[in-house]
């Protein structure tokens, strides 16, 4: 099955009771690329990754990773993959170096090569200074990097990254992105799940959008954004009477017709050249003496993608589907707990 795809899944099904976590999920990831799997909480992202990384059995369909059938050759698959789940799955008591050496020995490298490989990876992931400190003292970003390093011990053909930056601050997030880019430059194929459109956009050359256990779109980030309509400019006016004038000004820079929300005193439109559009609109409105409460740019969010593709908001999906994921969660508790954490995070982000 070496047809240029590192991961292929056809009609994957996974049921927990009568809930369908995956309901005919298809995926094709080209070798040597970063492929984003984008969806809200409970859409089935983690279930898909857990099936592909041999952690749970599938109920229907078939899947191959690195050309090997995940159901029939799990051991062979495991020797060719790396997995980084939602938690940094490293030993908090051991030092960074002890962690990597332990995993290296468990990957059957033998003591000497495990030591050498640990040294290489510590350097590659910029952890040499902290190598002999307990992981308990690491920052979130450092833990993540150690986690990534641990999944890179065998230089796997396919690396699964399940929400690798959830719960990280922006700086740590950037560090993880850097590491992922470096890995792909060395030839690893990455399947990245995320709930952030921005993350998928930054890293992935192709994105599959998943909702209710099914792939609902598969496109390049550009293609996806075009469907949603790119960045939007938003102007909030002080009085409703100003709306027609603002519409006219915004229309000059907009890709399509601007839309107005009378109640919210808001005018918005899709734009291509976001910065010059903003400057232009701000200057013109000032010149014309229009009283503006607020003006800004908004990138299309996962929510916009969902609204456009499914007609319902991601948040709604979340509410009804999180329960689904949790019913099946007894078997995979790391994922389950992470989900709870995310739920809390969502509150602060919103």
């Amino acid at each position: 099955m070496n047809d240029g795809y590192a991961v292929r899944a056809e009609g994957l099904e996974k049921r927990y009771g009568d809930k369908r976590a995956l309901d005919g999920f298809d995926l094709a990831v080209r070798a040597g690329t970063v492929h984003g799997l984008l969806g809200p909480n409970g859409a089935g992202k983690t279930t898909a990754v857990r099936i592909l990384s041999t952690l749970i059995r599938l109920d229907g369909g078939r899947a191959a990773v690195a050309g090997l059938d995940v159901a029939r050759q799990p051991r062979e698959v495991r020797a060719r993959i790396g997995l980084t789940g939602q938690y940094a799955a490293v030993d908090e008591v051991l030092t960074g170096r002890q962690n990597l050496e332990m995993f290296g020995r468990l990957f059957h490298l033998g003591g000497r090569r495990a030591r050498a490989r640990a040294g290489e990876l510590l350097e590659q992931f910029d952890l040499t200074d902290a190598a002999d400190k307990g992981v308990g003292d690491y920052s979130g970003g450092m833990r993540r990097r150690l986690d990534l390093a641990a999944s890179m011990i065998l230089a796997p053909a396919v690396l699964f990254l399940d929400e690798p930056t959830t719960g990280l601050d922006p700086r740590s997030r950037g560090e993880v992105w850097e590491s992922v880019r470096a890995l792909v430059a060395d030839g690893t194929t990455v399947l990245l799940t995320t709930q952030y459109l921005e993350e998928a956009d930054r890293l992935a050359s192709r994105i599959t959008v998943i909702d209710q256990g099914r792939a609902i779109a598969d496109d390049t980030p550009e293609g996806l954004k075009n469907r949603v309509g790119g960045d939007r400019i938003e102007v909030v006016v002080a009085e409703r009477a100003e709306i027609p004038r603002v519409m006219k000004v915004v229309a000059r820079v907009a890709d399509g017709e601007p839309e107005a929300e009378d109640e919210a005193l808001r005018v918005h439109a899709s734009v291509t050249d976001r910065v010059s559009a903003l400057t232009e609109v701000a200057r013109t409105l000032q010149d014309e003496g229009v009283r503006v409460e607020d003006i800004g740019l908004r990138r299309p969010s996962l929510d916009d993608v969902f609204l456009r593709l499914t007609g319902h908001r991601a948040e709604q999906t979340d509410g009804t589907r999180t329960g689904t994921a949790r019913t099946g969660g007894k078997g995979h508790r790391a994922a389950e707990t992470a989900e709870t954490v995310e739920d809390k995070g969502k509150g602060t982000r919103a």
Partner: protein, 269 residues
């Protein structure tokens, strides 16, 4: 398959995997030796409290010094509380995704549980050694020879049986905090046994429950072997303490080993 991997057979790598998990467990104690002190804190405190504070007020049926009676009970209690440590490590590893990482690797997944068990037995030996030294300092004088070794063996046998209870509970409880709560369940179970007080001094029905507590059998059997006061008791189970100290852990293993294994396999559901 790496060149090193190909040079050895399957059995070699299973044993190697187990050893590496053991090594991890032992490194934990090497890096945080204070953990052993925490684990022994309660039994040692109990020895001091019961031995010195209540000691003079306690009586041992059939005569003998209460401290001598108490010591083997403390060893049993140390072994009994061990399942909480097993459960805590397992629940931590499973909620933090460490077990998932192991399972996504080409190692033997049975090594995850087996390695835990071997680590716990090694730590149990160290704990018993420390407890026994404490007891010796306090004036406890056991018989030596094979009886001593047999008693040591029975204590480890009990600990072995409780590993599976610990693994099962560790995979069952939702988070590490809940594992800490197991102490609240374990403590009464050690009280309603012959660890502190001879069952015949309790109300009839409670004494009956205490006598049939597996911890009582190991306590009585090791008291007998150490040559310290046993505390009498004429029920069948108390008269056959040695037999029951061998049998009870076997029953617990038959019960909880399959439950633990099934729970572990259910992770891939």
């Amino acid at each position: 398959m790496s060149a090193v991997e190909a040079a050895h057979g399957r059995t070699f790598w299973v044993l190697s995997d187990v050893w590496n998990i053991v090594r991890r467990g032992l490194t934990h104690y090497q890096r945080q030796p204070v953990n052993i002190a925490w684990q022994l804190g309660f039994p040692i405190l109990s020895v001091l409290l019961y031995g010195y504070v209540f000691g003079s007020a306690m009586q041992v049926p059939g005569g003998g010094d209460y401290k001598d009676f108490l010591m083997p009970g403390m060893f049993v209690m140390t072994m009994a509380f061990g399942f909480i440590n097993t459960a805590t490590v397992v629940v931590y590893d499973s909620t933090k995704g460490v077990i998932d990482r192991f399972r996504s690797m080409p190692m033997a997944s049975s090594a995850v549980v087996a390695g835990r068990g071997v680590t716990d037995l090694i730590i149990a030996c160290a704990e018993l050694a420390i407890m026994m030294l404490t007891a010796l300092v306090m004036g406890w004088r056991p018989d030596g020879g094979w009886e001593f070794l047999a008693a040591f063996g029975l204590l480890l046998w009990l600990r072995f049986a409780l590993i599976w209870l610990g693994v099962w509970l560790g995979l069952l409880v939702p988070n590490p905090e809940a594992a800490g709560g197991l102490f609240a369940v374990a403590f009464p179970l050690t009280m309603i046994s012959s660890i502190f007080v001879a069952p015949q001094l309790m109300p009839d029905w409670l004494g009956w429950v205490a006598a049939w507590n597996p911890l009582s059998s190991t306590s009585a059997a090791t008291r007998e072997l150490f040559g310290t006061p046993v505390g009498g008791g004429d029920s069948w189970v108390e008269q056959h303490a040695l037999l029951m100290a061998g049998l009870w852990p076997a029953v617990l293993t038959v019960l909880f080993l399959p439950l633990a294994v099934r729970r572990f396999q259910r992770l891939s559901r």
